[in-house]
Structure formats: C-alpha cells, structure tokens
C-alpha cells in the first residue's frame, strides 16, 4: 500500500515564503510524481506540536516531516514513544533510529551569495536584514560576510534585524523601512533573511533600483531585474527525498548536514537574474563553490564557533 505521509509546519506557516513553503513544495512535487497524497498541519505552540505528532503517530502515519527547529524536542519525545513511526526533522536534531535530522549549512550558501554581492556592489557597502536575532539568522549573516570579505576585505556590511516578537517575521513595512535606511546609507546590495518581512525589503530594493538577494526558496522571480540571486536551501529536496525513501523502503535515520556538496544549499541562477550576473560574477561564484567543495575554503559556522570570525 501507499505510505501515509504528513507534514507539520511550524508557526511561520505553509506560506511563509521561506523554509515551510519550501517543504510544502517538496511534498507537492512528490505528490505530483507519485500520486501519493499527504496530510499537512500547522502548529502554533510547542505543546501543540507534541499533540499533533502523537495523533498522527497513533493513526499509523508512516513518515512525519516536522519543519523547523522548534519541533526538535517534540519529535524526540514522540519518536521514542512510537519507534515504528518515522520522522524527518528539518533544521533541528533529535535522537532516535527512526528520526532523520536534516541540517543545512546555510553559511555555505550565504558565502556564495556574499561573493556575488561583493562582486556586484559599487559602493562597497552590503546590507543584511534578519528577522530576529537568533543563531540561525546569525549563521546566514556570518557566511554572507565571509563570502563578501573574501572578495574584498574592505567591504562593509550593515545589518539590521526586524524585531524581537513573533510579528518580526510578518512586518513587511518594517522590512521595507530597514532596506530603505540601508540604501540611504549607501548600501546597494542587500540580503534579506526575514520571512514575510523580507518581502518588504525585496520590494523596496526594486523600487529604489538596488539589488537584493532572496532566501530559502528561489525568489528571483519576485522582482526580475533587481533580484541579484537567492540563497536557496533545498528543504523541498530533503522532504521529497525522504518521502521517496519511505516509498521505496530505503529510509534511514541519523543526522545529515547538507551543504553545497550534498546540494542542500546553493545560489540561484536562472532566466530571471541572468542579466544581472555578469560572466565575472558567475566565474567568481563558481570558483568559490569549487573551493568549498574541494575543501580549500572552509566556511565557518557561527553556531559551532559561537561567534563569527568576520
């Protein structure tokens, strides 16, 4: 029989234009190809996560995909309670043979877009807008800065965060305002990792004719002409893969840390930003990619180092 599958989005919701959305795209692609459906749920609190995980496990769902680090603890608890159910956890780590924890080396992808940004800037001032001041976002900005400084150590990076409440991911007006302030201070390329708030930043870049870099999914198509590139994080692929593995009976637990090598992160180059990426930029970014793949360049993860070297 077909496996029973489910996706649990975190508080950001299925349409967050970010990793939840990416997950849903992966599940959707699987459904299209295999005609096997899946359930989806959105939770509002950690207590609810545990509740819904247990409910699904009791209904003999074969694989539950839990999106977002906030679900880590709940997955760990329920995985222990239901050893027959399989789990895939995105962005977090939970122990158990039946859990596949998928982490991403956001710093590597950010490094690449940092290189691209540094090549594209004329003012030598780059911007970064994060949703909240949390380790995940710090890893983005840290990789971005390392990449930019590898091109030109004198490049300045102005960074702002949107806020410290959960509405920080839903405040496009503030995102736009931050972008505008950065442009006024001379920034001409910015990287927004702020969920819905980032949408405002990208929009502002378009309005001001500056360049912007999207995050998580490929956002180039949002504003062709001003979207320099996007740092894509292949949550969709991770979900698609694990669904496939369950279908084919090849699912294995454990922790995987997906970087460039594993195609977990990448930069986006497509028809929408083709005209903005000059051959030099493309060459330089691809070179950086090679260096990382070959191990010549090691991008530091601020989460492990507990601070950022640049």
């Amino acid at each position: 029989a077909d496996p029973k599958l489910a996706v649990i989005y975190d508080a950001g919701g299925k349409f967050d234009k970010s990793f939840n959305q990416s997950a849903s795209e992966g599940a959707e692609r699987f459904k299209k190809e295999t005609k096997i459906g899946y359930m989806e749920v959105q939770v509002a609190s950690d207590t609810q996560t545990e509740q819904v995980l247990r409910n699904l496990a009791r209904k003999n769902v074969d694989l539950i995909a839990a999106i977002g680090f906030a679900q880590s603890q709940a997955v760990q608890n329920i995985a222990k309670e239901f050893p027959k159910t399989k789990f895939v956890l995105i962005d977090g780590v939970a122990s158990g043979d039946n859990v596949s924890s998928v982490l991403f080396k956001e710093q590597e992808g950010s490094y690449l877009v940092g290189v691209a940004a540094a090549m594209a800037t004329k003012t030598k001032k780059l911007g970064f807008i994060g949703g909240m001041d949390i380790p995940l976002i710090r890893a983005f900005v840290c990789g971005y800065a390392q990449g930019a400084k590898s091109v030109d150590p004198k490049i300045e990076i102005t960074q702002n965060i949107v806020g410290s409440t959960s509405s920080s991911w839903n405040d496009p007006a503030k995102g736009a305002e931050l972008a505008r302030a950065q442009f006024e201070r001379g920034v001409d390329v910015l990287f927004a990792a702020a969920g819905g708030s980032g949408m405002g930043s990208l929009q502002m870049a378009k309005e001001k004719g500056k360049l912007a870099i999207g995050v998580d999914s490929n956002q180039n198509a949002l504003h062709p002409g001003t979207m320099l590139t996007s740092m894509v994080k292949r949550v969709d692929q991770a979900i698609y893969d694990s669904f496939m593995q369950v279908k084919n009976g090849t699912f294995k637990g454990g922790i995987s840390n997906k970087g460039l090598k594993e195609s977990g992160v990448d930069w986006a180059l497509d028809k929408d930003n083709r005209s903005l990426i000059t051959p030099e930029i493309e060459k330089r970014v691809n070179a950086a990619k090679q260096d990382i793949l070959s191990g010549k360049v090691k991008v530091i993860d601020s989460r492990e180092a507990n601070k950022c070297p640049v």
Binding site: E40, Q42, T47, A70, Q73, D133, P135
Partner: protein, 368 residues
C-alpha cells in the same frame, strides 16, 4: 442595568447562551462560505474539545494558563488599572522558573525545587510589573502605556538572554536545555488514566486554587474591599484612609505574580524548557478572559475553558477539514468575545418583553 426586570437566571444563563449561539451562527456562516458543513464542523469541534477525554485534557491544559493570565488582568482591573503587560510578565516569570531550575535541578529534590520554581515565577513576574505600578502610583504615568512598553522590552530582553546565555552550545533551537525531571509537574493522567497522553498537570489544580483565593481575597477580605474601593472611586478611597499608592503598587505586584505563575503550566508541565516567545499571546488572551469573565472567578473559569476548547477543538477541526484554516478560529474567538462580552444586552429587551407577559418579578440588586 437595562435588563433589571429579567429574572436572575435569565440574565446569568439565558442571555449569554443566546449570545453564544449568535456568535456561532455567524461563525457557521463563514464556515459554510468556506465550503464546509457547519453542523458537522461544530460536532467535530465539540467532540475534539470536550467529549473526547484526551481532548478535554488539552482544553483544560490550555485553560490552566489562561486562568492565571485572566486572573492577572482581573486583579489589576479591580484596582482600576488596565494591565496590558501580562504577556511580558509571564515571559519574565518563565525566566524565573528557568534560572532556578537550570541552577538547581541537579541538586534539589522535586519537593523543594518545584515550590522554589513557583516562587521564582511569581517573583519575576511581580518584579516586571513593579515599575509600571510604581510609576502609575507615584508619577501618574499611565499604566496602559508603560505596560505595553514593558511587553516590548521584555520580548527584546528575553530574546537577548535566551540567545546569549540559555541556548546550549551548538544547538539550533532557540530554547534552554531540557529541565531535569525533578522539576516536572505531576500530570493528572497519573490519577485519571482516561485523560490519556495530555499534558494536563497539577497547575490546573493550582489555577483552581488561585481562583478561589482570588474570589475570597477580593470579595471577602478588607484588602479586597480597599482594592475595589480604589478602583471605583479614588477620592472616596482616600477619604476612607486607603493608601492609594500602596494599593496600586500591591495590585500590580500581585497581577504580575499571577502572570508569572502563568508560565508554570507550559514550562514545568509540558515543554520542560524555555523557548523564544513561549507565552504565544496567552497574556493578551488573559485580557479578553478578564473582560469576558467580568473579573469574576466563575466567569474567568468559564471563559478560560471556552478559549481552551476553541484552541483545542479548532486545531483538531482544521486537521480534519483542510478548507478551514486555523485562523478561522481566531475569528470565531473574536466573535464570541464580541457577542458574549460586550453585547450582553442584545436580547434583553426582547427577552424582558417575553417575561413581562408572564410575570412581574423584579430584582434591583446591586452588582456587589
């Protein structure tokens, strides 16, 4: 009051029921427009929130937190203060618990650790309410404004503390480490196995206890008398020798302490760690609960359970009916508050016309 010529039971039961039905009617319309069957949806909701024992457990679990935040807002309201800061106070209360537990869970047994953590949550919550209370009493700075500000400040402060100090090294999750189980509150399913796997824990009992103490303290003690006198007429309170400053500060301290205790349920009873934004609006729901429950213990209890049921039932319903997004229940919550909390007289004229035909029974008692 307009409905003074209605029998008491009609005012207390029939009117709220009619209002609740009206709210549900509007909600049913929306559900119908979303393409689902309202009756079927309602039965799923009720089943998930009340009839199914495990669901009921979750309903009461959510209600436990709401009772505390509802009480927090109510106490301040009795003194004429509109404390919008329960959210921030609860957040800080969570910090109090976490600091105590993280420091001591390896060394202390449950029977000391748990009370200590409870005290810490109250103390931290109260401390966060102290300054707004003091500024209101001494400087006349409007408590509505200062508590809103303190919510924002709490959010920033907690974000900083969690990220800088509490996340275990190398972890992604913006949360503290897991508390050792010496700090875990006993779950009620140990006594009532029928509840199944619900996080419902003894903080529900604590919440009920708090309701009783609140009721007695406010309506039966001299302190409560002074509190209410201050809230109703400060001139008369001053004439009566009540220290306005002290009453306001103490009311805010207690309000903050109750909000702080609101953190106990989820931190020590369910998740067992402190995470970013864990109050998730429970402090604000407390405002709605205090207003809807008329700051009366039974009112607070009933509206807390109603809100708990909506969250639990709504969540299950949106699982079963993908067409109904969970946000629909936020809308329904709003409708219920609107109809039950602020339109209590909607049907009073019609109803009293009905009753007038039957009897001339009248009451004209005060509301105290």
């Amino acid at each position: 009051m307009n409905n003074s010529d209605l029998p008491r039971w009609a005012t207390a039961l029939l009117l709220p029921l009619l209002n609740l039905l009206s709210a549900l009617l509007v909600a049913a319309l929306v559900i119908y427009l979303l393409g689902e069957n309202p009756l079927e949806s309602l039965s799923i909701l009720i089943n998930a929130a009340v009839l199914n024992p495990e669901g009921l457990g979750y309903t009461l679990f959510y209600a436990s937190t709401f009772i505390f935040t509802g009480l927090s807002v109510s106490v301040a309201m009795q003194a004429g203060l509109f404390n919008i800061g329960s959210e921030g106070q609860m957040y800080l209360g969570g910090l109090g618990i976490t600091l105590v537990v993280l420091a001591l869970d390896a060394s202390l047994p449950s029977w000391i650790l748990i009370p200590l953590a409870l005290v810490a949550s109250a103390v931290f919550g109260a401390a966060w309410a102290y300054l707004p209370g003091y500024l209101q009493a001494k400087r006349g700075s409007h408590v509505v404004v200062t508590t809103i500000m303190f919510n924002f400040i709490a959010a920033s402060l907690m974000n900083f503390i969690i990220v800088a100090y509490l996340i275990p090294a190398g972890q992604q999750n913006t949360a503290s480490r897991i508390f050792a189980d010496s700090s875990w509150l006993p779950k009620l399913n140990a006594v009532f196995p029928i509840l199944g796997e619900t996080p419902l824990n003894i903080s529900f009992v604590l919440a009920l206890l708090a309701l009783v103490i609140y009721g007695i303290a406010v309506w039966r003690s001299a302190w409560g008398y002074q509190l209410r006198a201050t809230g109703l007429n400060q001139h008369a309170a001053h004439y009566a020798g009540i220290s306005i400053t002290k009453t306001i500060v103490v009311a805010m301290l207690i309000s903050g302490a109750l909000a702080g205790l609101g953190a106990v349920n989820s931190l020590m009873g369910s998740t067992h760690y402190l995470n970013l934004n864990f109050p998730a609006g429970a402090g604000f729901i407390g405002i709605a609960i205090a207003l809807m429950g008329r700051q009366h213990p039974i009112g607070i209890l009933l509206s807390s359970i109603l809100f708990g049921a909506l969250i639990q039932g709504g969540f299950d319903l949106s699982l079963e009916k993908p067409n109904i997004p969970p946000e629909t229940f936020i809308f329904i919550q709003g409708l219920i508050i609107l109809f039950c909390g602020s339109m209590e007289n909607l049907y009073a004229p019609a109803l009293s016309a009905c009753f007038k035909a039957k009897s001339t029974f009248t009451t004209r008692k005060s509301d105290v």
